[in-house]
């Protein structure tokens, strides 16, 4: 029964998004052009091949977070405005399950944009990213980290009238600091600490360490990157869960 509800929610989310494909196409175009344009400007008229692979991983993380969050929040706001949010809660399933379905469908679009945003520069600029088994765990944790943050935004979107501004603020900070412009190793220490508080940064760091420095999962653990990434993800999930529990009832009462 729960599986049916989850499937229904994911299917609905995908269909609603695919009903208006123009927005997704525009985002795909922007995502592919923006990264190379940024790197070209930062390289003062040239692409710096030593910086491209690491920053490309980071921009992939950024686009996953940016677009999954955008789809999720926009979907919720539209649902609340139209009145369908209340109807979608008249389910035999627990209230968090439809939210999980929304999160999964939003993440499909986030992941699609992130993949295209990474693949096109790889093809255009000939950027090579080695594939290693050790990178699977950090990549998965990076994904969960992004979803936890998206869930947090969604929990805020249930009641906050300024969620659009908050989302823009957070995603702008992530773009600036998660390593999409420059690798984290080039930041001053204080800025690197600040950057690691933001979602995707620790995941990107762990991923680049395995992909480009050849570190194993054990080495990531001993070096502290993996425990911090895990703690960060758990903290985000806990905050999102608490906010959802607090805001869900209020959202229904005002819907």
């Amino acid at each position: 029964m729960l599986r049916d509800v989850l499937r229904a929610e994911i299917g609905k989310g995908l269909r609603i998004q695919l009903a208006h494909p123009a927005g997704h196409v525009i985002t795909l175009l922007i995502s592919t052009m923006m990264y190379l344009g940024l790197q070209f400007v930062l390289g003062q008229g040239a692409l710096r091949e030593d910086l491209l692979p690491q920053t490309l991983v980071a921009i992939g993380g950024y686009w996953f977070l940016q677009y999954a969050g955008l789809v999720m929040v926009a979907d919720l706001i539209e649902d609340k405005r139209a009145g369908t949010f209340a109807q979608s809660q008249l389910t035999t399933a627990p209230p968090w399950l439809p939210m999980l379905g929304r999160l999964i469908s939003a993440s499909v679009f986030g992941l699609a944009v992130a993949t295209v945003a990474a693949l096109v520069p790889m093809l255009v600029a000939g950027i090579a990213i080695p594939l290693r088994w050790a990178a699977l765990l950090p990549a998965a944790l990076l994904g969960v980290n992004v979803l936890a943050f998206t869930f947090l935004l969604a929990s805020l979107a249930l009641v906050s009238p300024v969620i659009g501004a908050l989302q823009s603020l957070f995603t702008a900070l992530v773009l600036l600091l998660n390593g999409s412009f420059l690798p984290l190793a080039l930041y001053p220490d204080w800025l690197a600490v600040l950057a690691r508080v933001l979602p995707t940064t620790l995941g990107t760091e762990a991923l680049t360490q395995t992909l480009f420095e050849g570190r194993t999962v054990g080495e990531l653990w001993n070096g502290g990157t993996l425990p911090w990434l895990l703690a960060h993800t758990l903290a985000l999930t806990a905050c999102a869960g608490l906010l959802f529990a607090r805001n869900h009832r209020r959202a229904l009462e005002s819907s």
Binding site: R7, R15, G83, A86, L90, T92, A93, L252, S255
Partner: protein, 305 residues
């Protein structure tokens, strides 16, 4: 059946009750009208029934399941069309909406598909099942919303203003459907409406709310009988009315309104009319409509339910 016990909801720092100690019982297979002016607390009550608003005190049971304590089972007991909202997704087709809402109630895909076909056919939407609901007329959208509320075959349906904004034909379709659901399938229907003629036509029983409290809860006939104006009569006579009578003429027939303090006085009026040579066609005691009752109830300082 729907059971509501001392349901209360207060809002704001002033703790003003939006719904105040409301108790109701709606038996299986009946059509129950929930009436009241704007802000009376009808929608808040409906939302508490649907589990969307948590009451401050009191209890709601749907089909025997407590909405607060047995949420999942209670949710399977009803479908709802809520007022002032779209109820269904405009960017999805009628078919996709029904499939979604059916599975949201925990039904399997094949079960939902079978029922969706029946409902869309019954409501005359089968040919347009794959069209987006956003392109439908208001009446068709409301039909899809009603079908979505019914898709899981719930024993209870909550309808908040189901005919609001509909044209005559769509209103008739919805009214016929409500009667069919209750009479033939035994569905319990609770509806709110400002269209009192609709309530009078459909409802077995009506409750009237004012400022969060119930001011009446009676079978429709009994409520109308209670407010029957025992002192007012209408006498229809051929041609013009004799002088000294309060009359309205239309199509060659004149209707004379008479107010008496004792029913025996009616005979005296009839004798006076005959003395003037009037030919009496009919004599009837004035029957109030639900609208008259509603206005009377709302204007009374207080009225025991």
């Amino acid at each position: 059946m729907i059971e509501i016990e001392a349901l209360t909801k207060v809002y704001g720092p002033a703790r003003a009750p939006a719904v105040d100690e409301v108790s109701l019982y709606v038996p299986r297979g009946s059509v129950f009208g929930f009436l009241g002016p704007n802000g009376a607390g009808k929608t808040t009550t409906i939302k508490m029934l649907a589990g969307l608003i948590t009451p401050d005190s009191g209890r709601v049971r749907l089909g025997g399941y407590d909405v607060a304590r047995q949420r999942s089972a209670a949710m399977a007991q009803f479908g709802a069309v809520l007022e002032g909202s779209r109820n269904v997704y405009w960017s999805l087709s009628a078919w996709q909406n029904l499939m979604y809402f059916g599975r949201l109630k925990g039904l399997r895909k094949a079960q939902v598909a079978e029922r969706a076909e029946d409902l869309l056919t019954d409501l005359g939407l089968w040919e347009r099942r794959d069209d987006k609901v956003g392109g439908f007329s208001r009446g068709m959208q409301q039909k899809v919303a009603i079908a979505a509320a019914l898709i899981a075959g719930p024993p209870i349906v909550l309808l908040d203003e189901p005919t609001l904004g509909l044209d005559v034909e769509a209103t008739r379709t919805v009214k016929n459907w409500i009667v069919e659901q209750a009479r033939e399938l035994g569905t319990t229907i609770l509806l709110t409406t400002h269209q009192l003629d609709v309530a009078q036509e459909l409802c077995d029983r009506v409750a009237v709310m004012r400022q969060g409290r119930l001011v009446a809860d009676l079978p429709t006939r009994e409520l109308l009988a209670r407010f029957r104006e025992r002192d007012r009569y209408e006498i229809r006579v051929e041609g013009a009315a004799p002088p000294g009578f309060d009359a309205v003429a239309r199509d060659g027939v004149t209707t004379i309104s008479v107010r008496v303090s004792d029913p025996i006085e009616v005979y005296e009026v009839v004798e006076r009319l005959r003395a003037h040579g009037a030919v009496i066609e009919s004599l009837t005691q004035v029957q109030p409509g639900l609208e008259d009752v509603f206005v009377s109830l709302l204007n009374e300082p207080s009225h025991a339910a």
